[in-house]
Symmetry: C2
Subunit: 346 residues, 2 copies
């Protein structure tokens, strides 16, 4: 027998977080808890994004029906059946389903006494470091934030771009942290021609790749950039689920998958496999949110080429009601994890 | 600490088994056993095929090095690391690696006290029945074999074709077992034009699909058949590993994956996921062999559209040194499985 509940949390950010689409000072997430009748609990967390049509309200609106399906099946190991029954209740809503999926995987592994990565047979020695995201700000403040992150131990920075000061900002960061590895993310803000032009000087500044340069609804534009830009191209908004992967094989070098876009652990692993079949590199990303929304991705990290799982590092001190692996310097040490995802209430 | 050993078995078949490439009266397999120091044992079985360059001798030649990697890692849950170390020892040799992979998955699940399908989160209610394979013989004998299989409870037959009596044989079977569902497998024996012509009368005889009509080294021929034949086309010899899947998306309706072609459980699951990304249907097949080579596939069956796991049903009574799930009437009831794959010495 399983008991499934959820709770909403509004989490303050350490600093206002701006990307090309807008600015936020807090994020609202929905934590899912599934308990068996032997005292074990699994925790997951939905991180809805309006970009994909979800808010904390839509998550809270569908969770009662999704959790009823979980309780009806009543077996945390029956993941395939629960997935199917959840799809029969309501399609789409991937962040809500991802929260449930993570809670179930956490519970199943906890019952078996193994951390998820061990249950999944993954090699902790193959875990990439996470990048740390620096939002949009003026060049001086961007460089200060980048320097502070490097001071804390980070070596991989993801700079959010998409304003008319992109070049000044990257130059300021490069000057402030000459040894850091830098990736940039335009979050759909550029035109295809602009992306190709910017890639040239980004390459000169030692940037590794450009994420989502153009809008997701312009696949021909992405193709244009992929064919002409000197830097590798990563697809994020263009790649939501497994079904999007094949079309990106000749339009991107990297796909950025997220549990909250794919709708759960199993679908994400299927998408990773599909990307591998096409020779695509794979990044696992996240939304800003609680450690309870990040930990499952950490346990999947050995499957991936790039990891951007800094979502809980962007919260204000003490704002997160849950604790997970310590990612404060970008390293993900799965060997430190307890059973399941290793997430506990603070 | 793990101890890994192997043993060769020459298994008599119930009847001589003829396909378009040749006839066999027995099969030689190599059973892999991996034991931990707590009294748990995992069993797998390599079923080499000369079609893919493997024999019992090649398997026995590479297993000492593969099993040394298993013992070196020493942790049955470290499947990713063992996979990688095995690849570093020797590439290719997928049947040998599949035998090791199955033994490790059996051991890991046995240690955790769960049947593999439950550990993998799969729904036993979604398990397709296995087809039963009828080899090449004259029309009368083919029909007798088909009728005997239906008498034992089978409802799905796979007829091996690829001689100049294909039509007479299918007609004889259709007359003998009018209610059975029939699939046919030419094992690369036809020309593309011949396949298109044969598909027309096979369709009239109620055949469901045609497997591997043309040689695997003729992708344009497969494309020709896929574009023109009235029946769906399944790719077997044309689809060995994950990397083959994308190219088949527009050349086949179904891919027939096998543990012994993919090289193990994890790679097979990745290939299933890649096939799903392309909207391909997926069959899981097998080579003729011990129940120890079949059971892991049975536990994967809920992931699949079609299952052809009759390899141990073709052995002579008492020839198999291992027992697994009872598939004698084609049904696969995973709920009957013990921990792991449920394989035990006879």
């Amino acid at each position: 027998m399983l008991t499934a509940t959820f709770e909403r949390h509004d989490l303050d950010l350490a600093e206002a977080f701006r990307i090309s689409r807008g600015t936020r000072e807090s994020v609202e997430v929905v934590v899912v808890r599934v308990a068996d009748d032997e005292g074990n609990t699994g925790v997951g967390c939905a991180t809805p994004s309006t970009r994909y049509g979800e808010t904390a309200d839509t998550v809270a609106a569908v969770l009662p029906d999704l959790l009823a399906a979980v309780e009806r099946v009543g077996d945390p190991h029956a993941l395939g059946r629960i997935e199917r029954e959840m799809r029969e209740v309501v399609r789409a809503n991937p962040a809500a389903r991802a929260g449930v999926s993570v809670a179930l995987h956490d519970l199943a592994a906890t019952r078996l006494g193994l951390p998820c990565y061990r249950l999944w047979g993954l090699d902790p020695a193959r875990t990439p470091r996470t990048s740390f995201t620096v939002g949009i700000d003026d060049p001086g403040r961007t460089a200060e934030r980048a320097a502070a992150a490097v001071e804390r131990g980070h070596r991989l920075l993801k700079l959010k771009l998409g304003t008319d000061r992109d070049r000044e900002r990257v130059e300021a960061v490069r000057e402030a942290v000459p040894d850091a590895r830098i990736r940039v993310d335009a979050n759909e803000a550029w035109t295809p021609r602009e992306a190709v032009t910017k890639a040239a000087w980004l390459d000169d500044l030692g940037v590794e790749f450009v994420e989502q340069p153009v809008p997701a609804d312009d696949p021909a534009g992405l193709q244009f950039v992929y064919d002409r830009a000197v830097l590798p191209v990563a697809a994020d908004e263009s790649c939501r689920t497994l079904a999007d992967v094949p079309a990106l094989a000749d339009r991107a070098d990297v796909v950025n998958l997220k549990l909250s876009k794919c709708g759960g652990v199993r679908e994400t692993r299927r998408a990773v496999a599909a990307a591998r079949a096409h020779g695509l590199e794979v990044m696992l990303g996240c939304m800003v949110g609680s450690a309870a929304s990040i930990a499952a991705g950490c346990h999947l990290a050995p499957l991936l080429d790039y990891v951007d799982l800094d979502g809980a590092l962007l919260l204000a001190d003490g704002a997160d009601p849950y604790t997970g692996l310590d990612l404060s310097d970008g390293r993900i040490d799965l060997r430190e994890s307890g059973p399941g995802t290793g997430v506990d209430p603070r």
